[in-house]
Symmetry: none
DNA sequence: AATGAATGAGGCTTCATTCAT
DNA sequence: GATGAATGAAGCCTCATTCAT
């Protein structure tokens, strides 16, 4: 009896997780497709192949869905960046690797890429994690003399703003994948790396990211 | 009689233009306030103090309103930039002046600032005028050796992306007005200007923009 | 021009009042039919022959409709009682006249009768007016020695409770119209009037109410 | 084996009864709390701590639940009245005892009191048992000359209507517990008992009911 | 028996748009 | 031209009910 109950509960749990995952996946696809404002719950459930009511079983409020989406994308990004979490001493290299890696993963999984772009203009709690991480890297690099000493907010806005625009053109198909090489290179130059070194670092980071990014899903 | 008719027609014409202006102004205010998605036509007509039907007399389709908004914004920007349209030889100085001037005008008229930010995440057709102008300046500057020779798309994305992020933080109040000095400086460095000169140019352009921007309305 | 505008406004006003009246009438009918809880806005608009949206033009919140219904029924009752507002010295006769008159009007217009019964169990602000009026009459009658001296709350609950139950049976068709004669008579007896006189007063008040109540609509 | 089976079956039976009782109790509490219209099955199962499906195992249709609720309430009332089922000759005393006893039990167990009030405005089939019992008592009392000879329906509506209103004010806290003394007294007077005797009977019945009602749960 | 995930009908509300005056 | 009442499509959300495990 006991075992039976446990097995049953586990099975239910698994099914529940599956449906939840289907709904999240569907929501991501739809949002990437129509934008966060035009997407309706009807769209989500249609894409997921479940009924209206089921959606509310999993996400009683819209907030809940946004939170889940947020978590999902953050975790995916984290997983992307995990391999380079440590072992890289040069902050310029580190930054280049991160930027190229994220961009590559978004290109490989355009749905998520779109989502990241679209979701930004939404009242979702902003992804302050990445900002904070950037700030830490930049300050350390200034301390070690690698990066120019300037307002970290300015540096951050330069990096994130440029990255975002580049990402947009990339997923739009307006530019080719090596657009990122130039962009990251420019960012590094602004931060104080010499042009020659910048280009080299960016190019190598690009290749590394390329190689590492396989099978998005 | 003839005169009477003409006078009457002119008066009607003038009233018409006035109502139209009121509607555009109202729409801008409302959009800047609630965002483009939350704004309803009801809001527009309420803010403008006219009836629902009147709105459709002026803007039969939503497209028409968007176009008017776009035109309005662009023209205001153009007017802002008019004084520096000519007479400036150094593209670095020119770019710094433009960026600071636009930012200053957005700060001085937050409604328009917000509008520019909000409108971007919308299916509103963006006006490529500014992009094209930037490209022209940049290419000329490369030709004259002032700017680094790199993909103009990368340079553009760096400049516009950084600018947009900075603008956002500015209207959000997350950074002070001189944040722009650092940001523009970084952009110029990326484009090949030396750090010292960049800072000097940016600082001077900032002051000039400050001085020029008075009374937004 | 001026006249034209005014005439137009008046016409619009009139049409508006008409639609509003149609909606209230429809709501009353539907509520009397299905009860206040089972009635849906869909029912109201279907009965009124207008569209969903129109309902919300007139009653943005459900509260607004309830308030209108409340006002409507109160006013109708007041009109019913107007003729006996003055000129009757004996409180026993006055009370009998009021009770019979109200009951007769509810019988003549069953929709409103039902509504009064159904609406009571609803969070509508209770009709404290009638309670207050009863209390005043009763206290005066005690002072003049006509009614027994007892807790006015008890007297009120007896009168209103009995009346309400009687009304229910009446609109249900469970009892004939002269059921009211007995009921009112019992109430008067409880208040200290002799049985013989009670019966006489009640019977006469019943006839008077009958005669007065014509054309419900 | 046999014994084992029987014991097991008995245990199952007992558990079954327990769950059923829990559901009924929960439903009563919830209905008394939120009113019959606002109460949902979700509320019932949550309050009872069982699953949705279980509810339907016990009450396949909503009718079934209503019936159970009705039965429960009636039986509780019957139990309350059992001690005075016999041995009381004076119908005036009997009636006073019944009314006070019921009221006291509702005051002692407000949940059931509220339930009785709330349930009335519902399509729940009312149980006519008490009406029938009243009618029998009244007719006998008329035959014996104790009560005034009048339409039994009128007498019944007077008694039940007044009682209901009084009960409402009581559970609302609008009146104190001895409000019932006056109310019952008035009823008896209406039925032909002299004022002095009425008051005495009502007061004594009130005390007796008080004394008898202990521990509601 | 008990569970709880899934269902979908049914009600609510908003809002762009039309049109008679 | 201006008006604003009327419209109805399109979303949102709840909840009684079913059913596989």
């Amino acid at each position: 009896m006991r075992v039976n109950h446990e097995a049953r509960a586990a099975a239910a749990e698994s099914r529940r997780a599956q449906t939840r995952a289907r709904l999240i996946k569907a929501a991501m696809t739809v949002i990437a497709d129509k934008g966060p404002e035009a997407a309706s719950i009807e769209d989500f459930v249609a894409a997921a192949g479940v009924s209206r009511g089921t959606f509310y079983n999993y996400f009683p409020t819209f907030e809940d869905l946004l939170h889940a989406l947020n978590t999902e994308t953050s975790e995916a990004l984290d997983k992307t960046l995990e391999p380079i979490r440590s072992g890289i001493d040069d902050p310029a290299v580190l930054l280049a690797l991160v930027l190229h890696r994220v961009m590559a993963s978004f290109v490989a999984d355009p749905v998520r890429g779109w989502l990241s772009l679209k979701i930004e203009s939404t009242p979702i709690p902003r992804q302050a994690v990445f900002e904070a991480r950037f700030d830490a890297i930049y300050k350390a690099a200034v301390a070690s003399g690698r990066f120019r000493d300037c307002e970290v907010a300015a540096a951050r806005n330069l990096a994130f703003g440029a990255f975002r625009m580049g990402l947009r053109d990339l997923v739009l198909g307006a530019v080719g994948p090596d657009h990122a090489v130039d962009l990251v290179s420019l960012i590094l130059i602004a931060f104080g790396v010499t042009p020659d070194e910048s280009t080299k670092i960016s190019r190598e980071a690009f290749s590394a990211a390329r190689a590492a990014t396989r099978r998005p899903e």
